[in-house]
Symmetry: C2
């Protein structure tokens, strides 16, 4: 599969049409946009001035210097103390020089390597990559309703991620396969991730054993030695701080193991304004920023130059109930200001596509598109939960998955540069058609119509009478058909027999050893 | 009702909360955002470079010079010929100097006066105003389904426009009251508009008689004389060109009457790529631009300095069926490039919130939010069809109306500047709560929580169990309740008895005279 860069978007139509038709034919009923690297060709939005941004930054430094954060892992505290932090009990206060030093060593961009080199991604700069929903404890579809996460559904989601071009990496488990025993779940699940897909993937920071197993699986899957692995980041982990202002043992073990091995750490505070952060959006952002910077310092203290992604997940709550709210105006603002901060720091930026809806209805759609608006205009590089997220993260929905992929494809199309070459200006077509004429049949149109516009997977543009006669289907009903077609189009990527055997052997050995501890 | 400007967004919370509660109390069950002037505080998005913009501009000038447009009204052709155009039969070709001259006399901004001065709006610059769906031949709601437009439903929509703070002007009839005879429909409908609302409104350019009646109704409603009316634009009209490259008699009569009287003309080409315009987006935009500029020249030729709004309505079609598509990536791009052109010309910009969905489902929502994304980032000033539009404009939906108002209120909230004052930074709150603590009960939160965040009218943030127990309502069901609550909150604005009598007398006289012709 060849990758079309944004720059190639203007290449002659004949080539694009052939490529499109080839993909359509290969997929049977299922069609999708070709794979593209999404490049933001416009300046990211700024909703606070440079002065205001400095105010936020300085406030975060003050929080780290004066209030500090609790680091529960003794080894983490020792490392930070040796690097200049003031440690009192579990409380770590960082002088601003530690932050400035960390910002000077963290890389601006890096390659996240996949076992299929064509699927490696460049993290940072102006590029945008989407991954699926992560860590949902439940999943759902219209046929069988809402149910607990399980291995079979987990594998289906992996297949969807592999099939969709717009899904460029795997986050945590789209849905948690809770029928796999927690001690060995990560071994089975990551073997599946490495086997059913050939895209870059994620390991959970849930204790030293789990993250080390994940690193090893990533190494085996790529068929490389440890030295190469340390040169070529091949795994990422999301480290959520325990907002407010705390980092626990499993997460810190994750940072230490991953950064030591030069693998990618994305520190993402989970700062819901009014709950785990101040009720003001500026306050929640200051706290998010402080926690992310503290995480950055941790990674760079472990290994200067270790790849780091600045993560944000700041939203508001429903003040009547305390329930998390997503895809809100407040969420959008935090996406954008977070991006301004990440770019001030020259760090790659992670955000998310989110919603709080219980059904794949109008609310799910508007909350998600507002999220996409915020994260796109905010300059997000790695977009988590891009497809499938429902109920504030409690459910991975099959219908929502394909709906979100459609929305992502629309965003990708929106970001394609506008062709203003002389052919595209269409003056000769206007001459040919003339005032009062019609463009349907003119040469200019006939040469271009078949792939002139984005063809949605789900939108129904039939007139009312046709639509009603077809049973008045809603978007979620169409989505229900599309995910099944996409699953049917799944092709398992090839894997070297030797690698496959080594992977199986590793999993078998680790299982025999009892896997990982299940108490923290 | 006091107007909160964006600059006041940072004023002390106590004042805002009191204002909010007052409105809530007045409305019974119905609550809404306070009225605000929406100001775009960030640079509008640019997706084509200055060079590319010039290319588009020059191409439009070429179209007008070499191909020209058909002007069906002889009087219009005579005026343009006298102003320097080359006229051959119905074909009018304009040398570029005519366009440049018109651009030099058209005002950059102007006041659109309402009969209630508090409701007058400033058109142009960085301000954004939304109006409701216009001209739908049908309407619908969940209870009574889809039906032809009628006077009773038309009046209900007027009441909703009056009730919602985010609705700042009336476009054409939200739904066409086709049970009113076409010869006198405009008289009844505009009397209703002037009486049931006190917001600025619109007259259709459907022949000289209708637009002159509309101008007169606007004058009477404001209780002013003709001289004042000509100084203070008090009516607007949308003039749709007959794309491609044609302007018909009723529309040209509309321009002549309105511009002569110094009333507002918004020329909006309806350029669906592949149908009434070239299939390339750049070509469709070049044609839209040419037609809008030709309309501008017409207005300024009639009266230099007459207020003009640059309108765009460029989208794509479903190439399989030819059906119009809305809220698409192509639509978004045209919103933004149209804005770049309007700002190049220093003209106020009109765009629209659109969708092509048949049900108030996920598709209706994502197409509308994508439209809002495009028109907001594109710098639209007057936003038509802001609330209620369904089925590509064929239906005005009551549920979609309130859903769209909720979305508009979210956009308004998103555009509110972020407060980064020292209180908002929340450092003392973080100190008080400390690592591992909780912000729900701290002083900083308690002082702010009740209006800290936007409270949606429709979004359901309950957890799954609560939501399911409540009957698993979808967004459209909640919307169904909200529009009824909003209607119940309607208060008819006062009108001087003398004005009311004069209005009735005018309508009675014109009806007796037979109203307006019904053949064109």
């Amino acid at each position: 599969m060849t990758e079309l860069s944004a720059a190639e978007g203007a290449r002659p139509r004949e080539h694009r049409r052939r490529a499109h038709n080839n993909r359509a034919a290969a997929g049977g009923g299922f069609t999708q946009s070709p794979r593209r690297t999404i490049t933001r060709n416009f300046p990211a939005m700024q909703i606070v001035s440079a002065d205001q941004l400095e105010t936020l930054h300085l406030a975060s430094l003050k929080v780290l210097e004066e209030i500090g954060m609790d680091f529960l892992l003794p080894e983490a505290r020792e490392r930070l103390k040796a690097a200049g932090a003031e440690v009192t009990g579990e409380r770590v206060r960082m002088p601003r020089q530690m932050v400035e030093k960390a910002l000077s060593t963290a890389p601006q961009r890096f390659t996240f390597h996949a076992r299929n080199p064509e699927n490696s991604i460049e993290v940072g700069g102006n590029q945008m990559f989407f991954g699926p929903v992560s860590s949902a404890p439940n999943c759902s579809d219209l046929d069988h309703g809402r149910r607990s996460g399980n291995h079979a559904d987990y594998r289906k989601f992996l297949k969807l991620v592999q099939t969709f071009n717009c899904m460029r990496f795997l986050g945590g488990y789209p849905v948690e396969p809770i029928d796999l025993h927690p001690s060995i779940r990560h071994l089975e699940a990551l073997r599946d991730a490495a086997t059913l897909t050939d895209k870059p993937f994620h390991g959970y920071s849930l204790g030293r054993e789990r993250i080390c197993d994940a690193i090893e699986i990533a190494r085996i899957a790529r068929g490389i030695d440890r030295e190469t692995l340390e040169r070529e980041p091949s795994l990422f982990t999301i480290v959520n701080t325990n907002s407010p202002l705390k980092l626990d043992n499993p997460m810190l073990q994750g940072i230490i193991e991953m950064s030591s091995a030069n693998q990618i750490v994305c520190v993402t505070p989970f700062t819901l304004a009014g709950a785990m952060a101040p009720v003001t959006m500026a306050g929640a952002i200051v706290q998010q920023n402080a926690e992310a910077l503290a995480g950055l310092v941790m990674t760079q203290t472990v290994r200067a130059g270790a790849p780091f992604i600045y993560g944000g997940f700041t939203s508001n709550v429903d003040m009547k109930s305390g329930a998390p709210a997503f895809g809100t105006p407040e969420y959008m603002k935090s996406c954008i200001v977070g991006g301004q901060l990440a770019r001030r720091y020259n760090l790659p930026y992670r955000t998310s596509n989110t919603c709080a809806a219980n059904a794949v209805d109008a609310q799910a759609a508007y909350e998600s598109v507002f999220s996409l608006w915020g994260l796109t205009m905010g300059g997000g590089n790695m977009i988590m939960h891009g497809a499938g997220w429902m109920e504030g993260g409690l459910v991975a929905s099959f219908e929502k998955f394909v709906l979100d992929c459609d929305l992502i494809q629309m965003v990708m199309e929106f970001l394609q540069p506008l062709d203003t070459g002389s052919d595209a200006l269409g003056i000769d077509a206007m001459r040919e058609v003339g005032p009062g004429g019609h463009f349907f049949g003119c040469a200019h149109t006939l040469a271009r119509y078949s792939d002139a516009f984005y063809a949605p997977m789900i939108s129904d543009w039939r007139n009312y009478q046709q639509w009603e006669a077809a049973g008045a289907p809603e978007a979620k009903h169409k989505a229900n058909r599309v995910w099944k077609e996409a699953l049917a189009a799944y092709e398992q990527p090839p894997m070297d027999a030797a690698i496959s055997e080594e992977l199986d052997a590793f999993v078998a050995r680790r299982k025999e050893e009892g896997g990982a501890p299940t108490d923290f």
